[in-house]
């Protein structure tokens, strides 16, 4: 425990912080780094006595409490933070889609003035696109493909046939051999998995994987009780979209990929 002596805080270890000196130097030149100030403020963040002395020396140190730390990855925050991040990702994905459409519209409306702010304009475009999609008026090639994939996902009984219909006619799922599946490669996403079990695919779209020569994997997935959401040919369907949100998943540009398989186990 430390104690306060005027503006100087001492700890049992004997170290001291000259808060008045630090505050005076910071006040004289707030645009430059004052030696020792960052460390002292870090101490004040955890030591109530140091905090009191800091605020006595300069009340504006109060606002240092407001700094927000970055987070690494979507996990580890509170449920509230995770929800905020998830909502932000969805909103940004919607904005991106709306922006692409708005840019096409702008070309048509070239020369017409717009007084809307830089923030309001894309948001308005996103709302308009969402409205059009809701009433079924939006039918870009990408959204049609998404709908095809969604339709396939909603008809599990005919899933393989539906998926195969999206693949080139020369490829037949039924003709593929399950024996060609190499588990150590196929399940690199989950090294502990040795077969297409539900546990190997705990999530839905997040576990989407893109395999070269995915026909064998598709039939394996069905045999194991899983669901093949779609089998698509990158040559004809270069854009693969997230099945739950409709946002682009990836652009397939690798000619070496003969087939793309999105697999989901039954919930």
């Amino acid at each position: 425990m430390s104690w306060r002596d005027g503006s100087v805080v001492r700890s049992p270890k004997g170290d001291a912080i000259d808060w008045r000196g630090l505050a005076a130097r910071h006040d004289a030149a707030p645009h430059v780094e004052v030696d020792g100030l960052a460390a002292a403020l870090a101490r004040a963040a955890v030591d109530p006595d140091a905090r009191r002395a800091a605020l006595d020396a300069d009340p504006l140190f109060l606002f240092r409490d407001l700094a927000e730390a970055d987070t690494r990855g979507p996990v580890g925050g509170s449920a509230e933070d995770d929800a905020e991040v998830h909502a932000m990702r969805r909103a940004v994905a919607d904005l991106r889609r709306a922006s692409e459409i708005a840019r096409a519209s702008d070309r048509d409306d070239a020369g017409r003035g717009d007084e809307t702010s830089r923030v309001a304009r894309p948001l308005r475009a996103a709302a308009a696109v969402a409205g059009l999609a809701a009433v079924g008026w939006l039918a870009s090639p990408e959204s049609q493909r998404t709908q095809e994939l969604r339709d396939a996902a909603e008809r599990p009984s005919s899933l393989v046939a539906e998926a195969a219909s999206l693949a080139p006619a020369s490829l037949s799922l039924a003709a593929s051999s399950d024996a060609t599946l190499a588990p150590s490669v196929a399940f690199a996403e989950n090294p502990a998995a040795t077969s297409l079990e539900a546990a190997a695919w705990p999530d839905t779209v997040d576990t989407a994987a893109i395999f070269a020569d995915g026909a064998a994997l598709a039939s394996q997935a069905v045999a194991a009780g899983g669901t093949v959401l779609a089998v698509v040919d990158p040559a004809t369907v270069p854009l693969v979209e997230d099945l739950s949100s409709g946002r682009p998943l990836m652009q397939v540009e690798d000619d070496a990929l003969s087939l793309v398989v999105l697999v989901q186990n039954d919930p």
């Binding site: 006040d27 030149a29 707030p30 645009h31 780094e33 960052a38 605020l55 006595d56 020396a57 009340p59 504006l60 109060l62 606002f63 240092r64 409490d65 407001l66 927000e68 730390a69 970055d70 987070t71 690494r72 990855g73 979507p74 933070d81 905020e84 991040v85 932000m88 990702r89 909103a91 940004v92 904005l95 991106r96 922006s99 830089r118 923030v119 309001a120 894309p122 948001l123 060609t180 599946l181 190499a182 150590s184 490669v185 196929a186 690199a188 996403e189 997040d206 576990t207 989407a208 994987a209 893109i210 395999f211 070269a212 020569d213 995915g214 064998a216 994997l217 682009p248 998943l249 990836m250």
Partner: protein, 217 residues
């Protein structure tokens, strides 16, 4: 092991795991060089909380701040090819969001419109108090004080104080974000601190106790 089996060409989950380990700057480079959407998702995960808080302190409205950050990430994506790796990732990202926030603030036309979000903000803070623990409550109280006092600052003064004194960014980065010279940052900072200290003493003397007793002594 069979050599004729399917080859794992791409796994989004595995790719995301990789992205979690790399720096902000490397994520921006993945955006710029590979149009990597997962990199954008990762940046959203890392930066949303801090950016929304920063934007909120400029525009005084949580929902508006969220809108600003959404558009900021959209711009980050659309202008990804402009990223210059000599800039720090934070400078690049905060520059986009801070300028959008200032632009949004200036686009407000009437005083009534400007006051309304602040009133709602204050009310929502009060409403939420009962649900917060003590640490959150103290933080929210300080946040509310800053929101109130910073209305006395100009847009640029508020942004400079926020980035330098709260976010702790070097003056050079602040200058790059706000789009002015370092000498201007210094002036904004001096004036912002002077005004905030005066307002703090006038409205919250319990927080300005030390400074006042020093002046009296």
């Amino acid at each position: 092991m069979s050599t004729t089996g399917p080859r794992l060409a791409y796994s989004r989950a595995r790719h995301r795991e990789t992205l979690r380990e790399i720096s902000d700057k490397e994520l921006l480079l993945a955006l710029r060089d590979h149009a990597d959407e997962s990199a954008l998702d990762e940046l959203i995960g890392r930066k949303t909380k801090a950016l929304v808080a920063a934007a909120e302190r400029i525009v005084h409205d949580r929902e508006e701040a969220r809108d600003i950050v959404q558009v900021g990430f959209l711009r980050l994506w659309e202008h990804r090819d402009r990223y210059d790796e000599r800039w720090s990732a934070n400078t690049w990202i905060y520059r986009i969001v801070t300028n959008l926030a200032i632009d949004q603030l200036r686009s407000r036309q009437s005083r009534q419109k400007q006051d309304e979000p602040l009133r709602l903000y204050t009310q929502s803070k009060l409403d939420n108090r009962a649900q917060r623990d003590r640490a959150d409550l103290q933080r929210e109280e300080i946040d509310g004080i800053f929101q109130e006092l910073s209305t006395a600052l100009t847009d640029k003064q508020r942004a400079v104080f926020l980035l330098r004194e709260i976010e702790g960014m070097p003056s050079k980065e602040v200058a790059a974000i706000v789009g002015c010279r370092e000498s201007t940052v210094r002036n904004h900072l001096f004036n912002a601190r002077k005004i905030l200290r005066r307002e703090l003493q006038a409205r919250y003397p319990e927080y300005a106790r030390g400074r006042r007793s020093e002046a009296e002594g």
